[in-house]
Symmetry: C2
């Protein structure tokens, strides 16, 4: 008979738990048979003694098995998925999905809503009137079979153990534990049914991982967990020192995604999207050469085939397709501007504070219960390295009636103008 106190002691003393022990722990915790106060002691011991790759994998598997998994096996071919650890202005999924599908990749995606300063794909898509995010699993699978793509909300009860554990970590100072972060993310990815997964691990002051060292650790561990669970895995480390692209906010990000799908996207956003896409094109065995994969992706952005796939997706999920041809309707008509107070180069744009500014305007949630405004947000006119003059417009704010002054102040303080002309490296590392 296994006892929780022995498992706490084992972790406390730096020993390794086997799969049976970790399953026991998670199963009984989810069932309410192990109380929170014992689990929190285990979590704090894990903070200090960490976990081996195997333990983190067993944890991810046990949490996956605590709830529903999606079975995509009836869809022919290699199914792909991507995951971002969360950054400001990250609308990659909106572009990548149609782009890959236009090249024949099966993109069956369940996405989450946003919390805090990073937006959720599902909230963004809901800014398209009529777009249905709640779809029955059979219909979801049928849609991928029919048009190669579906992007829907989480259905069923995915990894309830992770939800319960995360809530406990949040109040016991055990959030910042890399094996716990990795297994939390991977428990949900492993439930998603994809064969190949690219992880976009954000690093920088606008991301959860502040240093490259931490980000590499997390990326390697997630790749290892996925691989041990039988998935084809790639992780890329990308900078989140400034927001991705120019636009932050639900409708604004769909607007920028549409521009990008027309081949007119901002350089950084295109670069990350094409990089992830190229890995998945290879994983899906549609292309064998990385350089040629990138060329094909860029081509599909330019020749409208990616955009047309997006139109197909929105139509299939009952969205109003007309707005895709008039994306300015996604934005609030009331605008405000933030003006540069001095001359120089943009040296820093604190992504976290830009995200907060968008949230204050109503684009994000502070708590799970908050309703988001779909047409508000921030359009940054400058990126790090741009030259500006006093009086230039730094940002346009699309607003309703809340948080305007607060957002303006946040944005003004978030942007550092100085004399150094910086260039950033966006894609920092690839981990296979």
């Amino acid at each position: 008979m296994m006892h929780i106190i022995d498992l706490i002691t084992k972790k406390r003393d730096g020993h390794t738990l086997n799969q049976e022990e970790i399953s026991f722990l998670i199963h009984n915790y989810t069932q309410g048979k192990i109380p929170d106060y014992q689990m929190s002691a285990f979590l704090m011991a894990t903070y200090f003694n960490q976990m081996t790759d195997e333990e983190a994998t067993f944890l991810a598997l046990a949490m996956r098995d605590s709830g529903d998994s999606i079975d995509l096996s009836s869809i022919k071919g290699i199914k792909v998925d991507k995951h971002s650890t969360g950054g400001v202005g990250d609308k990659v999924t909106l572009i990548l999905g149609p782009l890959l599908a236009s090249l024949g990749v099966k993109f069956a995606k369940m996405s989450g809503r946003g919390l805090g300063h990073t937006g959720g794909t599902i909230d963004k898509l809901e800014s398209i009137p009529g777009y249905q995010v709640e779809i029955k699993v059979e219909d979801f699978i049928q849609q991928v079979k029919d048009i190669g793509i579906a992007i829907v909300g989480q259905s069923g009860d995915v990894a309830p153990a992770d939800k319960k554990l995360y809530a406990l970590r949040d109040v016991t100072a055990t959030v910042d534990v890399i094996p716990l972060i990795a297994s939390s993310i991977m428990s949900k990815k492993l439930a998603s049914g994809a064969d190949a997964i690219v992880l976009d691990v954000k690093v920088g002051h606008g991301a959860f991982m502040k240093t490259e060292e931490e980000a590499v650790k997390l990326a390697k561990l997630m790749v290892e967990i996925g691989r041990l669970a039988g998935k084809q895995m790639t992780a890329i480390l990308t900078g989140m020192d400034e927001p991705l692209g120019h636009k932050i906010g639900n409708g604004l990000e769909v607007f920028e995604a549409i521009e990008t799908l027309h081949g007119k996207g901002p350089k950084d956003l295109v670069e990350v999207t094409v990089e992830i896409g190229a890995h998945l094109l290879l994983d899906a065995k549609i292309e064998s050469d990385f350089k040629r994969a990138k060329e094909r992706l860029n081509q599909a952005l330019k020749d409208e085939s990616a955009f047309l796939k997006f139109v197909e997706l929105v139509k299939a999920q009952h969205g109003d397709v007309s707005v895709l041809y008039h994306p300015e309707s996604l934005l609030s008509e009331k605008v405000e501007q933030v003006i540069a107070l001095s001359d120089g180069y943009i040296m820093d744009i604190n992504a976290l504070d830009i995200g907060k500014a968008a949230m204050r305007l109503g684009a994000g949630r502070e708590t799970k219960e908050d309703k988001v405004l779909l047409d508000v947000g921030v359009d940054l006119h400058q990126k790090i390295g741009s030259k500006v003059k006093k009086g230039d417009v730094l940002a346009t704010l699309y607003v309703r009636d809340k948080g305007i002054e607060e957002a303006k102040e946040l944005i003004l303080n978030a942007i550092t103008i100085g004399q150094e002309h910086k260039t950033l490296q966006l894609i920092k590392k690839t981990i296979k």
Copy 2:
């Protein structure tokens, strides 16, 4: 506004908490405003990052202040107390109290009941028919004023925070944390109202502290806590590699205490009692020379003055004094013997297993609700270093009708007979 999550984080990150923070923690935990799951995360962080002497002192004070303290200030002179960290056959208090009182020291003692393999002073005294352990505080104080001694059960609600915290530590693998052990013991000692305290820290395989290194750490910290709280403190480290004296069990220990009070006690028991007594005689300013203090204590054992004080104590607390003159009536009439199976020297007597044997016979409690049998136990005829022949009696068991075969086997296995003639050092260290 203080937040518990910040305090957990502080301890997790190796910082030091101040008095206000520790008071907040303990006060709100006792009130139920901090949930167990946050406290257990704090405790596990403390396991890894330990506490400074000051933090442990603040913790002891906060736990003392969570409940009742005894005010002994109306009793003239210096009040003394002793505490043992718990060992098998430890009946020192039964002898030390009357002994010191016979020399004019004020001995106002609240004692606990036994749990597990170590017996409690209160259970032992209850083997004297009629002895009252529940006495009102006013009567307790009056008795010390009248005859210089009282030994009663815990009255009031002493350190409820410690009780709650200990119960949590017990189920979260955070018992073995020296600052938590030290502040737990000291919270109760500081509530006891004594001016001078001697701590008998047991070390060896029959004790909670298995190594001298740990025992020294614990002893030093408790001395420091007591001193920071204004008490006169001494700790001695004594061996618990074999039981103290010969007899284990409630009535049996009173029997051996009476023998010792008549000047006929076993060497090790007398040595520890006199050592502790000499420190307290100096602390109480009744004697200024340690050697002479020991001589006076030995004399009081030989000339019956200590025994007569014990008679006075038992009388004052309504016990049947006649049994003190016929202590054989404290023992069960049914006996069993354990016989040596080979020739040689006694090389080891596992105190823990001897304690368990007495418990199996009914002398101790496995859970708080168990009733103890007062007339059962173990009388060891041999000590480590004794020479025995095959067929010699190793121990006499005073039994009722339970646990006899189990106890016999435990005792036989606990005693190692071999060719090495060992001698033990009983008093290992004195810490002032």
